[in-house]
């Protein structure tokens, strides 16, 4: 379903207002204290954002990917971590709505839409990120349960989550190995423990942790889609939307950095005039804005393709690659324009500068992104 244009505009402008009034005034302070934004998360729930992409029959808003990307962009203009609160949650919801059985959807989606349930994704392990098929967590069937054992790494929202999508091997011998991966939807409970919070360069306020499973029991009915060996496909099906999400974040953070820079450039004077009147600064501003606009359009184009039900792995990959590199560049340029002040924590530019690198690494590094894009292009243009 596509979201009607007038609804899209209204939703995006409401989120923008929320960000301007409630997020921007407190974001840097919470970030510097590395404090979980409980009050803002509550507001996200009240606004209905926990159900952003969940079907209306389960109490969600059923926003299309384009509108969701715009919402993410607005949130990230205020504080990138807020979109992190939502992203793993909605990725889990996406897996449930796409691959879950009717019973699984009925059991979990309404609670997720209202924010009663908060979702996290447990895919990455200490030694396996993009190379999903090398995961070592195992799930062994025993009676009416599966018994899960293993460790997960870099798990966003691990502590605040109540519901986890967990990739585990149900078959260790099968070749190719990815066919042995299954996906489970597990509720917080005995056997699943959240380890230490990882200290990060940016992306603060929201916890990223290790998750350990020791004889953690998940009922048979919580095997996603009710069939073993489908986990790899479940992960892959979410990648396009995941990349569009990262691209939209990057556009949001880059826009915030640019906005700060162009304001500052008109206030700060050197040699008797505002620095915005020096060509050196003008050239930077023009390049920054042009690249941001290109990144935004790539992101919208990929999202639009997804909304039309077409495959968009190349487009989503390009959007993610270009937007995240743009974001890093724009954040750096913004810091140059703000000079010494940009390096202090009096201005949010230092925060954008620390948040930006997440996007070149998360959701598949840009190196692997290029490989995926090239591989697909070679297939499309085979002679």
């Amino acid at each position: 379903m596509t979201t009607p244009q007038d609804v899209r505009e209204e939703i995006v402008s409401t989120v923008r207002r929320f960000v301007e009034r409630e997020v921007m005034p407190v974001a840097s302070e919470l970030e510097h204290r590395n404090e979980y934004p409980h009050a803002l998360v509550k507001r996200l729930k009240e606004l209905g954002l926990f159900g952003a992409t969940i079907p209306q029959e389960y109490g969600g808003l059923d926003l299309d990917v384009t509108t969701y990307a715009m919402v993410v962009e607005e949130l990230c203009k205020g504080w990138m971590s807020l979109s992190g609160v939502l992203n793993t949650h909605l990725m889990l919801a996406f897996m449930l709505k796409t691959h879950g059985s009717d019973e699984q959807k009925r059991r979990y989606l309404p609670g997720m839409a209202s924010g009663e349930h908060h979702g996290a994704l447990c895919l990455t392990e200490p030694h396996a990120g993009s190379d999903v098929q090398r995961i070592r967590t195992t799930a062994v069937r025993r009676g009416d349960d599966y018994i899960l054992n293993g460790s997960k790494m870099f798990i966003t929202n691990a502590r605040s989550a109540t519901l986890y999508a967990i990739a585990a091997k149900t078959d260790n011998k099968i070749d190719p190995p990815y066919k042995g991966i299954s996906m489970f939807v597990g509720e917080k409970g005995p056997g699943l423990s959240v380890g230490r919070d990882l200290e990060k360069l940016g992306y603060k306020g929201i916890e990223t942790c290790e998750v350990h499973m020791e004889d953690y029991r998940v009922p048979l009915t919580n095997l996603l889609g009710g069939k073993e060996g489908q986990g790899f496909f479940h992960v892959m099906s979410g990648l396009e939307v995941g990349r569009i999400n990262i691209a939209a974040r990057a556009v949001g953070v880059a826009s915030a950095a640019f906005h700060q820079a162009i304001r500052y450039a008109q206030q700060r004077e050197t040699f008797g005039k505002p620095i915005a009147e020096h060509q050196a600064i003008q050239l930077k501003l023009a390049d920054m804005a042009t690249k941001i606009e290109a990144a935004r359009l790539l992101t919208y184009a990929a999202a639009d393709k997804k909304d039309r039900g077409e495959r968009c792995d190349v487009e989503a990959g390009m959007a993610k690659l270009f937007s995240s590199e743009t974001c890093l560049e724009v954040a750096t340029e913004a810091m140059r324009i703000l000079g010494g002040y940009g390096y202090t924590n009096e201005f949010p530019v230092e925060r954008y500068y620390r948040d930006a690198p997440l996007m070149i690494i998360g959701e598949g590094t840009n190196e692997i992104q290029r490989l995926v894009i090239a591989k697909q292009l070679l297939q499309r243009h085979k002679i």
Partner: protein, 264 residues
């Protein structure tokens, strides 16, 4: 109880407004439009009164171009029940708008009309007063409240206007303080800035608003005299603000205020 709330489509107060070189209007390219902020406070107050009484209906009314639908939808998304848009493409003065509202109040048999004290585009501050005169109803302008906007009462959504036993109690802003009035209902009340902090629409509210009734009426169908009594001759941008001056000490400041500015 039926509460009518007026909604005007106005340029975003945060936008920088530029006057056309020939002074006939403002440049509207790339201009964003919003609900007049004072009207938004009126909508919020109506919703609070409804939530408190449990039985009220909140009807939004607007006069203007078809595009004012957007602002009415915003009000519906906040929680109003339905909306009426009188479609008019021509320029209308305050009296014409008051006459249109007068007709709508009679047709709708409203018990209370809430308006923003003024619209932020022309700052006329006339429509509410004119409407009260046309209806022959009591009026209270610049409704405010004694509680601060940070108070618990405000956070819990308590209305500032109190209605009970066929009377409205209104605290209003006057020079140098607050004045409390009691007036019989039906009445016209215009609201000021410190009456409440308006909610914004929840996203599910935005979805629901699409299904609510938004009735359009042609201005000619109302049989109201809307011939302008007022003609705008030209618009001029405000003079450019002069740079301030830094003084070295308090003494110097006092001297300057006394001898040059002659304000103390």
């Amino acid at each position: 109880m039926k509460i009518l709330v007026t909604v005007k489509r106005v340029p975003d107060p945060n936008a920088s407004i530029k006057v056309k070189p020939d002074g006939t209007g403002i440049i509207t390219d790339n201009l964003k439009y919003v609900v007049n902020p004072f009207d938004e406070i009126a909508i919020e107050e109506a919703l609070r009164l409804k939530e408190k009484s449990g039985g009220a209906e909140v009807v939004l009314v607007s006069v203007g171009s078809k595009t004012a639908q957007e602002q009415l939808r915003t009000g519906l998304a906040m929680g109003a029940d339905r909306a009426i848009l009188v479609v008019a493409e021509q320029e209308l003065d305050s009296l014409a708008v008051a006459r249109i509202f007068h007709k709508l109040v009679q047709d709708e048999k409203a018990d209370l009309v809430l308006l923003g004290k003024q619209a932020i585009d022309d700052d006329a501050n006339q429509t509410g007063q004119m409407l009260a005169a046309l209806l022959g109803w009591p009026q209270a302008t610049f409704a405010s409240k004694t509680d601060s906007l940070e108070s618990e009462a405000e956070k819990s959504g308590t209305p500032g206007i109190q209605i009970s036993g066929g009377a409205a109690k209104v605290v209003r802003e006057v020079d140098g303080g607050l004045e409390t009035l009691e007036l019989p209902v039906p009445a016209v009340i215009t609201v000021d800035l410190r009456l409440n902090v308006p909610r914004y629409a929840s996203l599910p509210g935005i979805m629901k608003a699409r299904k609510k009734e938004l009735k359009e009426l042609a201005i000619d169908s109302l049989g109201v005299d809307v011939k302008p009594k007022l003609k705008i001759l030209r618009l001029d941008p405000p003079p450019k603000r002069q740079a301030g001056r830094k003084v070295g000490s308090v003494q110097e400041l006092v001297q300057a205020l006394h001898n040059e500015a002659k304000v103390i």
